[in-house]
């Protein structure tokens, strides 16, 4: 099915149904996805999903109401469904009070991004995975196919973003909770590249056969890989960078905005839409700037500002989504060479992955979470043993502030594997972080 043509037809249909003083905003999402779930190097659940969702917001004066439906690709059926949700939204407008925080883009700016790429056939995907898993315990998910985002309004704006992509995310397990996590994601599948990543991951497995090390609670030197650091920023992304949490003083960066503390000078972080894979437009029709600095040289910089927060607090929107969460985080690298990490770590914990972060004390930026997968105990620059799971409890002002010894010069592009409701288009480009004193509690 040609999603782009379908979107254009639907957008035209919604516009035709928009009456008088009404303005309509249409958000379209479509995907044609293959999902191959596997465990113990065998197939667990294989299948595909074709999904098309349309949300129409009707605006009249200061009132706004929203209604959504699924579409089928059948012209007559879809016309009936579009007419039904426009009628639903129009009826809801009747009960809706004026919305003082209503804001949408009224200066049409159209855009188009289309990336049609070669993806493996299903049989080829199954073959590649079972080949890599031969003689190993391989568990994970292969997700691939087309995702498409469209925005249209009755003022004539049309934005389109579609791409064919894949994301193969898996573990090679040794035993119990000891495993090597790996990922191969992108837009053009290359057998050789997948085999190289799989071989690198497999090479770590022998270390996991050593007797695991249990360390007592205390302070340790630690290295967080980019994947581990992604868990930290991923968690903070839920509320740390939005204008609303800033204004209501519920941000974990409260001490930063009060001038009581800051991160290390070499920490600079931004929302880099230009280098990410997410659409450059949002659901109210605003385009996003290429880059927004969130933390500059350790200091809290700009907020992500949704249109609603913009109207509420009188600050110009920068095209943030409703939740004011980053989608394309980009953290500057440092001076530490990846090849020198173990030597510089000396004796301490090498944290390959972190897991299940949350707050111990949000006001003070204090986080907790756990080590996972192939985290290691290191002595004198040599990996000694896999680390049994440990809980950390520490503040961002220590981890990425007073105790930050260095960031790697090499950074990794991490494409989000999330598939809640739809396949994620979030990404992060991050270095690894060497920490002088990292608090483990349980």
């Amino acid at each position: 099915m040609n999603f782009h043509r379908h979107f254009q037809d639907i957008a035209d249909r919604v516009t035709a149904l928009t009456h008088g003083e009404e303005i309509s905003l249409s958000n379209y999402y479509a995907e044609q996805s293959d999902f191959l779930r596997f465990n113990r190097s065998a197939v667990r659940q294989p299948g595909s999903v074709t999904d098309i969702e349309l949300t129409v917001d009707l605006v009249k004066g200061r009132k706004r109401a929203s209604a959504a439906t699924r579409l089928t690709g059948d012209r007559a059926e879809d016309e009936a469904r579009v007419a039904a949700i426009v009628a639903d939204a129009r009826q809801a407008l009747g009960a809706a009070p004026d919305d003082p925080f209503l804001l949408f883009n009224s200066s049409p700016q159209s855009s188009e991004h289309i990336a049609e790429n070669d993806l493996p056939t299903r049989a080829a995907a199954i073959d590649a995975i079972t080949r890599a898993g031969t003689g190993r315990d391989m568990v994970g998910i292969y997700a691939a196919g087309r995702t498409a985002y469209g925005f249209a309004n009755s003022l004539g704006q049309r934005n389109w973003h579609s791409a064919d992509s894949f994301n193969l995310d898996w573990c090679f397990y040794h035993s119990a909770d000891k495993a090597v996590k790996a990922n191969y994601a992108g837009f053009e599948w290359r057998d050789g590249e997948f085999e190289r990543i799989a071989a690198d991951a497999a090479n770590t497995l022998p270390v996991l056969s050593r007797t695991p090390k249990t360390v007592p609670p205390g302070s340790y030197r630690a290295y967080l890989t980019p994947a581990a650091l992604a868990e930290v920023w991923g968690w903070l992304g839920w509320g740390a960078f939005g204008l609303q949490t800033h204004k209501t003083r519920s941000t974990p960066f409260l001490r930063s905005i009060d001038g009581a503390d800051e991160l290390a000078k070499n920490v600079s972080l931004g929302e880099n839409i230009a280098a990410g894979v997410a659409p450059a437009f949002q659901s109210d029709g605003f385009l996003r700037p290429d880059r927004i600095s969130l933390i500059g040289h350790g200091a809290y910089d700009q907020c992500l500002v949704s249109p609603r927060s913009s109207a509420e607090y009188g600050v110009a929107t920068n095209g943030a989504n409703e939740a004011e969460q980053p989608q394309s985080l980009d953290m500057a690298g440092g001076e530490l060479k990846r090849g020198d990490v173990l030597r510089e770590l000396g004796t301490g914990v090498y944290v390959s992955n972190l897991w299940y972060l949350n707050y111990s004390d949000r006001n003070n930026g204090r986080l907790t979470g756990l080590t996972r997968f192939a985290s290691m105990w290191v002595e004198n620059g040599e990996i000694v043993a896999p680390l049994n799971v440990m809980r950390f409890d520490d503040t961002i002002y220590r981890m990425l502030g007073s105790e930050l010894l260095g960031l790697t010069s090499e950074r990794e592009m991490i494409l989000d594997t999330g598939t809640y409701g739809r396949r994620s288009v979030d990404s992060m480009r991050l270095p690894g972080a060497l920490i002088g004193d990292f608090r483990l509690t349980l």
Binding site: S48, A67, A96, R362, R391, Y420
Partner: protein, 477 residues
């Protein structure tokens, strides 16, 4: 609405094909107001179906929004293609067939239908609550919301199965954030307030009477002392017990985790198959049931999403592990008895092992009697923070509200109360279980798991419980 679909399915499936169709029509509505301003009302309809084909010992699925006969044919071809490609490559012990011939229905009882209350009245209710939350200038953010989801589902199988269920869930929420100096504290109605039913659920849960209490408690918290750090007895209020049960009993007992399916994402389990029948999970006071018939609980149903008839089973009886949360497929793979808990979050995701109504059975202690047992301890309620390792063993939870217990009496309020422990021995320190007076029927609206990812609602009912000698601590850097 599914009459035409039944006919289309019958016509679309060729003779000799073994398959099921699970269709769903879900209508969601939400209303909210924040800082006295209503957000635009939202309504969403999601309609679609998944066809799962069994072929040569393998399966394949295809989900589609196109419910016409032609659309189902396309999905069936797609699913069959997957099954053929997977033949001989399925995980060990995969059953030859998961299809059932069960027939039946289930309907949520709505005493006051959601649609009987007009949108204007719903918005006016929220504006009233919002006004009552703003009791002081130090309340700098406040809001209330109500959401309703009606999900009608149909499961058909080529073995003659036909299950039709219609489930309505109501989810109210409310919060007040108080801020003064370097301290910001949030007090809320709690994320565990979710039940099946109609508009009456709001009154049943005390929604309209909560705002002043919530706002005043937020103000008390910004003035309160930090929770002390020490080992002490803890009484966990029922709305926090919901999460304690969910994270450190529910997830570790999921059989698909034990079988390894979730190891790449949600994690594994410290529980192993040989533990069932003998392992002492908790003290003698611990009784955990899978109860799909608890009235009004969020995930009551008559059949799971693969058509297995659901009934009450004990997972932990008198502290001893009895059976896992494992659906028919997992039961076959593990050779263990389980429960009817194959559930999908929507028509576009395949069913996996899930919690549904997972309850801690009430005991005999009055709440005041639990408090009276404690010489020095703490009472906590309403979850704020949760974290647990991928084997579901080392946990840490933080709550909105803490109150010290001294010499058998509740005393001063403390802020940022946290506690941590290890599932495999924490439940053995259970030394008091509340009776029906503190029994609370709630749940969680977003339980994430699975690849592709799925977030489902679950139900949990529990009284307040007393645990001995727990590691408790507060905030500050």
């Amino acid at each position: 609405m599914f009459d035409a679909l039944e006919r289309a399915f019958t016509r679309a499936v060729p003779v000799g094909i073994d398959c099921s169709l699970r269709a769903e029509r879900s209508i969601s509505e939400s209303y909210s107001a924040r800082r006295g301003v209503p957000a635009p009302p939202r309504r969403s309809t999601s309609v679609g179906a998944m066809i799962t084909v069994e072929h040569g010992g393998a399966i394949g699925y295809a989900a589609t929004t196109d419910l016409s006969e032609q659309g189902l044919r396309r999905a069936l071809t797609d699913a069959l293609d997957w099954a053929k490609a997977s033949t001989g490559r399925m995980v060990p012990g995969y059953p030859a067939s998961a299809l059932t011939g069960e027939k039946g229905t289930f309907d949520t009882l709505e005493r006051e239908p959601w649609t009987a209350v007009s949108p204007s009245d719903k918005i006016e209710l929220l504006l009233d609550l919002s006004r009552r939350l703003k009791v002081d200038d130090r309340i700098n953010d406040w809001g209330a919301s109500i959401a309703h989801a009606q999900t009608e589902s149909l499961l058909l199988t080529t073995k003659g199965g036909g299950v039709h269920q219609n489930i309505c869930v109501v989810m109210p929420a409310m919060f007040a954030t108080a801020s003064s100096g370097a301290q910001t504290q949030r007090r809320s109605f709690g994320d565990s307030k979710i039940r099946q039913g109609g508009f009456e659920v709001l009154d049943d849960m005390g929604f309209s009477t909560a705002p002043e209490r919530i706002a005043h408690e937020a103000l008390m918290l910004i003035e309160a002392q930090e929770c002390p750090s020490d080992r002490m007895d803890i009484i966990i209020g029922p709305d926090q017990m919901v999460l304690q049960i969910h994270e450190s009993i529910g997830h570790p007992l999921e059989l698909d985790r034990i079988l390894g399916d979730e190891r790449n994402y949600a994690g594994t389990s410290f529980v192993t198959p040989e533990m069932f029948g003998t392992y002492r999970y908790g003290s003698n006071l611990l009784n955990i049931s899978f109860d799909p018939a608890e009235a009004g609980e969020a995930t009551s149903y008559a059949f799971d999403d693969e058509g297995r008839r659901a009934r009450k089973e004990y997972l932990i009886k008198d502290g001893v592990l009895a059976r896992p949360l494992g659906s028919a497929t997992s039961q076959h793979r593990a050779n263990l008895d389980g429960v009817a808990n194959a559930r999908a979050c929507a028509w576009n995701r395949p069913a996996i092992d899930r919690m549904a109504n997972l309850n801690l059975e009430p005991g005999n202690s009055k709440f005041d009697d639990l408090v009276a047992q404690v010489e020095r301890g703490i009472y906590v309620e309403t979850n704020f923070s949760w974290s647990i390792d991928d084997s579901r063993n080392k946990f840490q939870f933080g709550c909105e509200w803490g109150q010290m217990i001294e010499d058998g009496h509740l005393t001063r309020v403390v802020r940022n109360p946290n506690y941590r422990g290890i599932s495999s021995n924490f439940w053995r320190s259970l030394k008091g279980v509340g009776d029906r007076d503190s029994y609370f029927v709630g749940g969680a609206s977003q339980c994430g798991k699975g690849e592709p990812n799925q977030a489902v609602r679950v139900g949990h009912a529990t009284p307040a419980c007393l645990f001995a000698d727990v590691d408790v601590f507060g905030g500050a850097a």
